[in-house]
């Protein structure tokens, strides 16, 4: 179904998922404007928002099913399999986070149903970011996402940590936006274009110039911040720790996924001609990110903080596939993000249920002896840890396998080795979690009495854990899907007219 993106009707059609979600966000907003008093309102808002994600997903599916593709140049927004896959990924993450949030918010006494519209707007921003075909859309999508997430991070206003997290995220985020914007400006200066394809064609036709290099460098800085690559990572642990737990899950999986998807698209469509220039940068980022993330995670006692550092390390692993700059790399990013998000959602889902109302974050010692009280929860969390570790039989292993495969096929051997060294280090902090839950006795008899595992979260986590195991041994469907989808990323190769 070719869509003329330059026409308003075509643009509307192309933006259908985002529009549906925005519209639904407004609907929910309308609802909460009058109903924001008690837990029931919270539940209803949450349920409504999930319906919105389903609608948006349906819209995405419809576009994908109809084989939507741009007629001529894809203005502003991309219309390819990669975008649909990205949208699906982001929508599922958002929906899962919404499900996890429902009871958690009520338990923590955060009775502000605006949470759900904000989550939806953040999702819209993520979808725009990941689907952008134009630097302007990219920037705006990024900002929509960022602003919403700033708010969400500080949503638990009664806790100082939450406010602090929001402030840190906001200040450093705005700072990073400045760099990204400068990069966009210089890229624009070097080519006179904002459109990905046109810029890419321009770069392909001319040798790299000073302005182009600086522009690209600054854009990379902006992305490096969003994906929390070292040394742009310092905000992440603090923010992850301070933010409400479901939002931490959202940031660790969704925001990071959106940034990575956008990065892959930008590098594939905007800067493919400069690959020899950006590869060393990605290399350095990946190497140091993996090492620092894994090493620092070793000395953490708070679960959220540990997972934050582990998220940094995983960003490093993902950069391997970015380095590969190939169809396999793109597919690997998709698969890994899916694997990672499934795992992280499940892990945070379990952690959220263990958290006591208004209490500090869950520490490693709080998990001791969990198995004897909550065997399934601890088995689930153990599986999550193994998946994060990249243990065979879990989806995380397939993801890691694919990443390594992509990097190695692209001829990179050092990074995989570093990644594996990192993985080897990571066992030093994943294993103690399993150990504490299963092998250690509970500190006190009442240790785990406050755990509440609400049914929605239980179902969501259950599905995630099952998916981790199932996709760990039978990933064919998603593999095939990702591989075919990824190939569509760079199908439009527009020649640029002589200037």
């Amino acid at each position: 179904m070719p869509i003329d993106l330059s026409s308003p009707g075509g643009a509307t059609l192309a933006l259908l998922p985002e529009l549906v979600l925005t519209f639904w966000a407004l609907v929910v907003l309308m609802y909460v404007a009058w109903h924001h008093r008690d837990g029931h309102d919270m539940r209803t808002a949450g349920g409504l928002s999930i319906v919105g994600y389903i609608f948006a997903a349906a819209a995405t599916a419809w576009l994908a099913w109809r084989g939507a593709r741009p007629e001529g140049l894809s203005f502003m927004i991309a219309l390819d399999g990669f975008r649909f896959a990205s949208d699906a990924l982001l929508l599922w993450i958002a929906a899962a986070v919404a499900i996890l949030s429902v009871r958690w918010l009520i338990r923590q006494g955060i009775l502000a149903p605006e949470y759900y519209p904000m989550l939806m707007l953040a999702t819209v921003g993520m979808m725009l970011l990941a689907g952008a075909a134009d630097l302007i859309t990219l920037f705006l999508g990024l900002e929509v996402m960022s602003i919403s997430v700033y708010v969400l991070a500080g949503f638990d206003r009664t806790r100082r940590a939450s406010a602090e997290a929001a402030l840190k995220y906001f200040l450093i985020g705005a700072f990073a936006s400045g760099f990204l914007l400068y990069g966009i400006a210089l890229t624009y200066g070097a080519t006179g274009q904002f459109n990905f394809d046109l810029i890419g064609a321009q770069f392909a036709a001319t040798p790299p110039t000073l302005m182009a290099k600086l522009g690209m460098g600054l854009i990379l800085v902006g992305f490096a911040f969003k994906i929390a690559a070292v040394p742009f990572h310092a905000w992440a642990p603090d923010v992850y720790e301070g933010a409400p737990t479901p939002i931490t899950a959202f940031m660790a999986s969704g925001v990071k996924a959106a940034a990575f998807l956008a990065l892959v698209r930008v590098l594939a469509e905007v800067f493919p001609a400069l690959v020899d220039l950006w590869r060393p940068v990605i290399f350095g980022l990946a190497a140091i990110t993996i090492l620092v993330g894994n090493l620092t995670a070793l000395s953490q006692t708070s679960m959220k903080r540990m997972l934050a550092y582990s998220a940094i390390a995983h960003a490093g692993y993902l950069l391997l596939a970015v380095w590969a700059h190939s169809d396999e790399g793109t597919a690997a990013v998709l698969i890994y993000l899916l694997a990672y998000s499934v795992t992280i959602v499940a892990a945070f889902g379990i952690l959220a249920s263990i958290e006591r109302a208004g209490a500090r974050t869950v520490r490693l010692t709080d998990l001791e002896g969990l198995f004897s009280v909550r065997p399934f929860a601890s088995i689930g969390l153990s599986i999550c840890m193994l998946s994060l570790l990249g243990f065979p039989g879990t989806f995380g292993f397939i993801g890691k396998w694919y990443l390594l495969s992509a990097a190695l096929r692209a001829g990179q051997t050092t990074l995989p080795v570093i990644a594996m060294v990192g993985s080897a280090i990571s066992i030093g902090y994943y294993l103690p979690v399993v150990l504490a839950m299963t092998l250690k006795p509970a500190r006190t008899r009442q240790a785990h009495q406050t755990i509440r595992f609400p049914r929605p979260a239980r179902i969501a986590v259950g599905i995630c854990v099952f998916a981790i195991l199932l996709l760990g041994v039978w990933p064919n469907t998603v593999l095939n899907f990702a591989t075919q989808t990824a190939v569509q990323l760079r199908q439009s190769e527009l020649p640029i007219g002589p200037r």
Binding site: M76, A112, G189, T191, A205, L214
Partner: protein, 191 residues
């Protein structure tokens, strides 16, 4: 033409010095209020430079929206919080040295952009063998002057904004929505 350029250049540099000086003061004043006012000053200087660079409409918004509305918001908050004047803690001098040093290194990298002239940019952008004529390479830049002349400063911006850039324009509405809801959620006293 030549003398005209010279006069413009002189005015440009006057405002440039103004902008840099204000910016310096903005980042060094220990009083937040003073910083904010010096920032406003910088913005005015920039607005003037925008005019020189043929962006009259943007210059107007700069003054109205930016210097006018946004910065007033800042001043408002600063006064609302009634912050005390915190003198610089000179024990933090290593932070200053590192900060200024890093900025200097970053600056030396970025200031190399000074070497760009229209001719150089044209040469770099062109896919044709040199020599190249910037006017041929940048038809839209010339078209901008023509459009400004025919449609006025606002019209030359407005027309593409509501046509080619419709999607981003709509996205800004989402952005503002998010900002409004977010600000309300965060700032209101009671949830």
């Amino acid at each position: 033409m030549a003398s005209n350029v010279t006069v413009t250049t002189v005015i440009f540099y006057v405002f440039a010095v103004w902008a840099v000086g204000s910016a310096l003061l903005c980042i060094t004043r220990s009083n937040a209020l003073a910083s904010a006012l010096w920032l406003v000053s910088t913005m005015f200087a920039l607005a003037a430079i925008f005019v020189i660079l043929q962006a009259q409409f943007i210059a107007a918004i700069q003054v109205l929206v930016y210097a006018g509305a946004v910065m007033v918001l800042f001043l408002f908050v600063i006064m609302l919080l009634n912050l005390e004047d915190v003198p610089h803690d000179w024990k933090r001098w290593p932070a200053w040295v590192v900060g200024v040093g890093l900025a200097a290194v970053l600056g030396t990298t970025l200031v190399t952009l000074h070497s760009y002239t229209p001719a150089r940019l044209a040469r770099e952008v062109s896919t044709m063998p040199s020599p190249v004529d910037p006017r041929l390479v940048f038809p839209e830049g010339n078209a901008l002057a023509v459009a400004t002349a025919t449609q006025g400063a606002v019209g030359s911006v407005a027309q593409p904004l509501f046509q080619g850039y419709l999607i981003p324009f709509e996205v800004t509405s989402v952005l503002l929505l998010a900002a409004v809801v977010g600000a309300v959620v965060l700032a209101k006293k009671k949830l």
